[in-house]
Each structure stands twice: as C-alpha cells, then as structure tokens.
Symmetry: C2
Subunit: 305 residues, 2 copies
DNA sequence: AACGATGTTGAGTTTGTCTCATGTTGAAGG
DNA sequence: CCTTCAACATGAGACAAACTCAACATCGTT
C-alpha cells in the first residue's frame, strides 16, 4: 500500500518548493511524481498537499506521512549502511558480552589491539550480567559472547579461546594450604565464596562438588574479586577461581592457590558467535587476536592451550 | 533498493517456519518468495537466511533487516491507521496547546463534553509555554492552538471563539478604585503585575500603555493568578486580566475590576488550526462545543460574543 | 526405493511505474 | 482582456518488476 518511494518523494517535496523541483532531486520527471501522488491520494482518500501555493503546503495527512518519513527513512539508511558494511567485510559491528567475571583482564588488550587494526568496526562491550547473552546473540543484538559452557544452539558456533585451570584460593595458614591437592570432601566444613550467579554456571559445583555429592558448610557470594580475596586471606572462606585471575594475589603470597583434584580442574573459554560470522574477515581476525593476546597476557600464568 | 514488501516478508518468515508457510500468510506463492529473496540476497551480496533448517535460521544480515522491520513496520501501521482515521472522519487526533494562562477554566468543560461525543478522537492538551506552538501546529505536531493574536501563517486559519474584556484589578481601597475607568496615565506611578511572557503578547502593553507611550513605575511578574490577586489585594500592585478570570475574585469583593479606557479594552480568543482540518467533522464539532461551553461557563461573567 | 515436503528455476503473464507528448490552470504583465 | 509562463494533470505507450504456473532438484522419512 504505502511504499518507501512515497516517503522519499514526500521528503524531497518538502525540501524542494514544487513538484518540478522535487522531481529533479529524485532524478524523475514531474509527470512521474504527479502520477505517483494522484494514485497515493486516491488510495488514502484525501489530498496530501496543496499544489497551488509556493512553496507547497502539506495537509494534515501529508504532515502525518512526513512525520513517518522522518522517523523511518533514517532507520532505513542505517540498516542499509550496516548491510553493505557486512558485505564489504572491512567494516561492521562487534558487540560483545562476557559471562565471566574475570575476563576483562585479557579481553581489554585484545580490544585495544583490534581497534587499531580495524578502525571501521564498531566495538562495544557490555559486561551484561543483567540479561541472557546467548539468546541476544542468536537474535542479533550481540555479535560475540565469551562463555565457558558452550550450550548447543542452532546457528551458534563456539570457538575455543584458551583452556585454564580452576583452582581453590585458601588462606596461607589454612589447614588445606599444605595439601598437594584438594578433594571434594575437604570442602565439607568450609565456607565457599562464589560470584553471584546460578550454581550450574560454576565449574566448582558442576564438575567438582556435585559429582562427589558434596555440599560445603556454607556458600556466600561476592561481586568483586578483590573482596573475595580479602575474605579468603582473612580465613573466612575459600573460593574457586581461574588460575590467571588468582595469579595476581597468589604470586604475592596474599593467598595460596591449590589444585582441585589430583589431575586438576580444567575449563575452556569459548567465543560464541553466529555461524555465518566465521566468514567475516574482521571476526576471524578478532578471534586470532583474542587467542594471541590471551596467550601473552596469561603467559607467565601458565595458561593451557 | 530495499522495499517494505521485503521487510514484511522477512517478518512473516520469522513467524512461520518455512517459505511455504510464510507465503501462505502473505497470500502469495512460495515461488514468489523464493524469487524475492533470491533477488534481494543478490542485491545485498549475501544470504539472509539458511533454508535447510526448520525453523529457518537467519544470518547476521537477515537479523539486521528483521531488526529494521521490527522498528519500522509498527510505525508504518500506526501512520496508516492515523490516515484512515483522518479519512473516515469519526476518529482522529486532537492535540492542543494553549497560549493563555487562564484558559483551562473554560477549556476543561469543553474537552469533557467533547470526549463523550467523540470517544475515538485522541485528545491531548499541552499547556506548553515551553515551546512555540504555532510552528508546531504548522508542522503537524499540534492540531489546535488557543491564542489571542492571530499571526498570519500559510495554511493556518483562525476561528474566533469569544471576545472578552481585559480589565484592571486594583485593591478595594486603591486610589483608582473609585474612578469610572482607567486611563494609561493612571498607571504611571503604579506597579504592574503580569504573567511572565514577552510584552508584545500582553494586551495591556500593546493596546493600552504603548499607544499612549506610558511606562509603569515598576513591572513585576507572577506565574499564578491567585498569587497576583493576593499582591493586588494587599495594595502592592495592579494587574490586567480577562474579566472572566477576574470574576471569581471581584465578585467576592476581594479586588475591584476596573475598565481600561472609556470604551473598554476588548480582545478575542482564537482557535488556530490547519486550514484543511476545518472539514473534519470532529474538528467542526469541537469548535462549536468550545464556543458553546465558553459561552455558558463565562455566562454570568458577561462574555462578549 | 518411493514418497512427501520444501525450495529453485525458467517461461510467461500481469501489474505497476516511468517517460513523452500534450492539455489544463492560475498568476503576472502588457 | 488577452498573452505568456510556470506549474501541474492526463493519456498513451514503453519498460521493468513481481507474480503465477509448471517442472525440477533436494532432503529427510517411511
């Protein structure tokens, strides 16, 4: 019924003073616009503008459509721009979210380096713990999600970034500090400190305690890593944490990092992206950069690749 | 390039699970959609969705266009609805603004009565002193402006509502209280209280003091009528005001209302509307209702018609 | 292997949109 | 009053776009 062409014509007509002028701007003949308006006004059942004045004057209906044009044409242009960027490949959008509390540390250098290489790519990082990032990724609101549990989802692929060891932080003089490694039973009398997220997203529960059917004496949460370290150092609890996030504290003798289980508890961080984005050159490069920089920033911390 | 048809098709495709289904919903053949997408994807330079899955899966580009569709299609529908209401005539929009501080008094009954008669008309009243209402009227953001100075503007017509007398409020024991009428010179030693608007929108200046080249000793402003009456009653100034706005106070002996000039100072309130809205039945009715109710509410106050 | 459901493709038809040529209208000026 | 000019309207025809139809390809299912 109503077409974009009509909105563009109305818009041009407002800029110009007459049909003749507007036709010029649109690279059409005056006749074309005349026909176009005749038909549109017929369909609308009312005139859209007064022709006999200079400049032309719009009727209420015409003004309403102009309002629509003002609202929609910019959206349209923006979308077309985004699409042609996507097609071009050297530009685009990369909106990220991280599910992992301690990922800034290695992601920031990645982003900095990437920004230099691809200045045309619109970067955004939402530390969105407030919403479910994977559906947003599938919906197209996000372009990359850093996560450690790759749940099967149509159209989403997971690119492994690096593997790390989850360890247990305990106070230096803690009774467990001298053990070569921790077994689930060791945590029975302990207070376990975690980030405030669902249990099934915490490896220490899903892959260490729950298989052994062990529940710690108490579980408390904290939002900030420093805060957690403080609690651990003062002997008020223990906490599971990636080795590299712990390194800053354990290397200075603030807390001790203990292996979980005899063979250690290893987990992998993945970049979740929509499958078709694997082809985008800037995405490939981002993933490579992420692997590289995570390797070098976490180097001294013995990241397992 | 990109057409509304495409957005509608994409939208339908998301609701449906397949091209066949989507085609049904759009009352087209599946072949039509296949052709449509083939051409669109060619133009965009990339696929928009994956066909081999059920339900279909959109690519990043497809998701971007869906996002556009979600943003624009509702706007489009709303505009089309507004237009057909306009054409129908029994429904529509009536967004008003009043330039006049004391107009609520008679406008409110008008609106109440009108709302009953035309429930389908979307009413809104902005007491917008914050912006210029007449350009907004011409632009289509407003549909009716109540004003007392009809300034010439293309496409805007002014419908007179009623004429009222501007009078001077003075304290009961004021030296001017006993005069039969006020002359400009009387205000030379006085403090004049006005609403906080530009002088050239105040009749007492433009049509009483300035023609006689008289400037009061002092001018102070107040936003509220009650406040002004308080100041007047306590002898701290005088103030010009429509007779009907004054009536509430003068009839109770709180202040005295004096005629301005021997023959009185009369002004007319107009409804400014876009010329073509004169034909809309609900607009005609609103104007009649406004005249009627202004007459009856201001009746005992001797409004001049 | 056969079938049904889904999507693609090419040909042909319909519909729509533009241009060109010409007609109409209204304002300005002699 | 008539001419002139500019703006817009209108009709015919050219052309392109978008659809349908029919035939074919593909894939998962029975």
């Amino acid at each position: 019924m109503l077409e974009i062409r009509h909105l563009k014509t109305l818009h041009a007509l407002r800029e110009a003073d007459s049909l003749v002028d507007a036709a010029d701007r649109l690279h059409l003949t005056q006749s074309a616009l005349s026909h176009q308006f005749k038909e549109l006004e017929e369909r609308m059942g009312m005139p859209l503008f007064v022709r006999k004045t200079k400049p032309v004057r719009f009727t209420s209906a015409g003004l309403r459509l102009l309002q629509l044009a003002d609202a929609t044409l910019p959206l349209l242009r923006a979308a077309e721009r985004d699409i042609s960027r996507l097609a071009g490949g050297t530009a685009g959008r990369l909106h990220m979210a991280i599910e992992c509390h301690s990922c800034f540390q290695w992601l920031m250098p990645t982003i900095d380096q990437f920004r230099d290489a691809w200045p045309e790519v619109e970067l955004d990082l939402a530390s969105g713990f407030s919403f479910a990032p994977l559906p947003a990724l599938a919906r197209g609101d996000l372009d990359l999600v850093v996560t450690s549990d790759p749940l099967e989802l149509a159209g989403i692929t997971y690119v492994p970034l690096f593997t790390y060891e989850a360890m247990l932080a305990v106070a230096n003089q803690h009774r467990l500090a001298s053990k070569p490694y921790i077994v689930p039973e060791d945590l029975l009398p302990e207070t376990l400190i975690t980030y405030p997220v669902e249990r099934d997203r915490l490896d220490i529960f899903t892959r260490f305690l729950e298989p052994a059917d062990i529940e710690p004496a108490q579980v408390r949460t904290s939002e900030l890593t420093v805060m957690m370290m403080q609690l651990v150092a003062s002997g008020r609890g223990v906490c599971g944490m990636p080795h590299w996030a712990l390194h800053e504290y354990s290397s200075r003798g603030y807390v001790k990092a203990k292996r979980l289980g005899e063979k250690g508890l290893f987990a992998t961080l993945y970049a979740a992206i929509r499958a078709d984005m694997l082809d985008a050159p800037y995405m490939r490069d981002f993933l490579l950069t992420a692997k590289d920089t995570s390797f070098s920033t976490l180097d001294g911390v013995s990241a397992v690749r």
